[in-house]
Amino acid sequence: MGRTAGIWPYVCMAPALAAFIVLEIVPALGTSIFSLTDYSGLPHAPIRWVGIQNYIDLLTGGQTFLVRALQVTAIFSLLVTVVQNGLAVLIAWLLNSRLRGQISVRALIFMPVVLGATVNGLTWYVMFNPLGGPVTLALGELGIRANLLGNAATALYAVIWVQIWANLGFSMMVYLAGMQGIPTEVYEAGKIDGTSPWSAFRHLTIPLLAPSITINVLLAIIGTITGFELIFVLTDGGPAFTSQTLGMWVFNQAFFSNNRLPGYAASIAMVQFVLVFAIALVAQYYLRRREAVL
């Protein structure tokens, strides 16, 4: 008969749980309540209960911006999820070796993750400057006149690039950890059967990475649907609202001076929550079914 840990795990988890409830659950509940009011954010201003009026306004009066925000969010989320994860798997596979310098390369790729959205955003804001940013100058040498963040056709894709660049390191580390957890006997057995490195990657590594894929894909989907920090720094949702995702729209509706409507913004946030919940549920169900168990 072994000893049990008793209540100690719960005691240790309690502070984190309390912080999570206070900083995440309570504000989320607050948002859901505010979405049913005409809350303005001003002290002592009366808060009136409006029921589902904000949602009706969103679906009727705000449909142009809602549809556009959903379209932009879909493109943003899909491209970031697919490209970021595809690149991360490839890089992790290449780094999953005993080559010299691989630790330094890993650190370099991971560095943007620790720098944060503001630093990453400002870095690329300068890089993309149309009057002398390094990227603009480099493209100019190739005969291309670039205004990547100011051009309605390219702004969203420039933001997508920065989002991928900023978060690639995290995905890579998760995949690397997953790859390092795969027993070597699996590859040895494959070698005996005459499996090529590429076949081993496709038919052994990828299926066995399923749990890592699930985590990374879910985080990417959730992060891109709800996030707005990089977009705020790079384009503020412009030009001409071409990079205004749902998250950015919520921010602008809540805080932008001409149209400060926190109650209405809360209703958009609730729609966003339902969307994220539904998509994450479906994605998780599908991905879990594909997880291989050794």
Binding site: P43, Q63, N258
Partner: protein, 476 residues
């Protein structure tokens, strides 16, 4: 119960790991700080903004002998931020001589959306006693609910020093004065006079003359027009100038009708012509990179002398001078986007920076005294001399900026730039027309009308809030 060190350490590690996972889960694709669903303290992330920490709370003493702290917040005014801050320091030092027990903390909080977020955070957290405000457009009145949020300034002695039309227009609501609007601003075209003189060009008075001038400059390989449209909000100056000169003369009561009756037709020939000229002018004569040029760098870039003109706010004059332009003479003219010279002589203007005392302040008497002090002619003039905006008192300002602007104020009318009601889906910047090719002027007019009509349920509740007499005064 015995707990081994190993088991304890393991539990601590589990707890720490669980907190990281729970905090990061669902927020971002990487473990970086994430947005929450509640209004968060704003981050000053734009290059021109200054990061500040929260100010100390006002002390509870209401005047008298006890120490009092008044926290004053305003936006960061770009290139002239340092001069603004110095001017504030000087006035606050004078006030301290009068009231030694009072300390006035002034905090500039960024520009644009950064300022707005920071302002709301301070007001919601009740950590500011006085806030700078924009000058009392309908959306300000709706957003700020001045009769519930601001102190009544009607009894201040210095209010009598102000031009009473400006008091009625830019400071008064429901018969009381709610903010001391120090300045109003307009939309004009700044000119590099050295470049114009080089090609013997005079200030244009009609659209044809403006086009001809730009064509001359282009044929001499000069860049006619500078614009910095990032963020796109800066495009509202161009839209304001074109609406005033092309659209307004045909329908002078357009905005009053919208505010009072809720009626507006954006598909009339004059609106379509306005959209057409905006698109045509920006496509032909603007720097092609204009949509990516950072607005806070605008004054500095114009000061490099590479451009002939900059359709912009009068408030940027001080910033241009502060950037030490390479050209000798800075000029200005009213934007001539119409074929009618008389219509082009009307400058769109609107109320700008003012001080409002917040009702929740613990030192209302001292706040009122400070605002009153600021409004006295001597201090008002010293501040306006730094700011170089149009003063709301009859004072004479000196310098190249007031000199250039003075002839342009013969005729003014309130700009459309701050007249959209909260909830109204109307883009003041016309950005989808100017920054993309998805709309022709005609289709854009129909699109604007559709958005106006579809969003009606959200803003209809404000119709009736502004009566015809107020609208007539505001637009007079």
């Amino acid at each position: 119960m015995y707990v081994s060190r190993r088991r304890l350490l393991g539990s601590l590690a589990l707890g720490a790991g669980a907190s990281v996972v729970l905090a990061a889960c669902g927020q971002s694709s990487a473990p970086s700080p994430a947005a929450t669903s509640a209004p968060a303290k704003p981050a000053d992330s734009k290059p021109a903004a200054s990061a500040t920490s929260a100010p100390a709370a006002a002390a509870p003493a209401a005047g008298g002998a006890g120490p009092v702290t008044i926290n004053v917040i305003a936006w960061n005014s770009g290139s002239s931020a340092e001069a603004f801050k110095n001017a504030m320091s000087q006035i606050n030092e004078q006030f301290k001589q009068k009231r030694p027990n009072v300390t006035v903390n002034f905090e500039p909080l960024g520009q644009g959306a950064t300022w707005t977020n920071a302002q709301m955070a301070r007001i919601a957290g009740q950590t500011a006693d006085v806030t700078a405000t924009y000058g009392f457009a309908p959306q300000d009145i709706i957003n700020f609910q001045p009769d519930t949020q601001f102190l009544d300034l009607s009894g201040l002695a210095s209010i009598k020093s102000f031009d009473q039309t400006n008091v009625a227009r830019f400071m008064t609501w429901k018969g009381k004065v709610w903010q001391m609007t120090l300045a109003y601003v307009g939309h004009i075209v700044w000119a590099n006079e050295d470049m114009l003189a080089k090609y013997n060009l005079k200030h244009p008075t009609t659209y044809a003359e403006l086009q001809s001038m730009c064509d001359t400059l282009k044929s001499n390989k000069e860049m006619p027009v500078f614009y910095a449209a990032k963020p796109q909000n800066a495009l509202n100056r161009l839209a304001s100038q074109i609406e005033m000169t092309v659209g307004r003369p045909k329908h002078p009561n357009f905005w009053a009708d919208m505010l009072v009756q809720g009626k507006a037709d954006f598909t009339t020939p004059e609106w379509i012509e306005s959209f057409k000229r905006a698109k045509e002018f920006s496509s032909k004569y603007f720097d092609p990179a204009f949509s990516g040029i950072d607005y806070p760098t605008g004054a500095g870039l114009f000061a490099t002398g590479k451009y002939a003109m900059w359709p912009e706010g009068s408030f940027s004059g001080g910033d241009i001078i502060a950037a030490k332009p390479v050209f000798q003479k800075l000029g200005a003219f009213n934007a001539p986007f119409s074929d009618d010279a008389a219509a082009n002589a009307v400058q769109p203007v609107y109320g700008d920076i003012g001080w409002a005392g917040l009702k929740y302040t613990k030192s209302p008497d001292m706040v009122l005294e400070w605002i009153d002090f600021f409004g006295q002619k001597e201090y008002f003039k010293s501040f306006m001399q730094v700011l170089q905006y149009y003063p709301t008192q009859a004072v004479e300002l000196t310098g190249p900026v007031p000199q250039a602007e003075a002839p342009l104020l013969q005729k003014t009318a309130v700009s459309k730039v701050r007249l959209a009601l909260p909830g109204m889906t109307y883009d003041n910047t016309w950005s989808e027309l100017l920054l993309s090719d998805q709309y022709t002027p005609e289709r854009y007019a129909a699109y604007v009308q559709k958005n106006f009509d579809d969003s009606r349920p959200q803003w209809q509740k404000y119709i009736g809030m502004f009566d015809a007499d107020w609208a007539k005064l505001y637009f007079s």
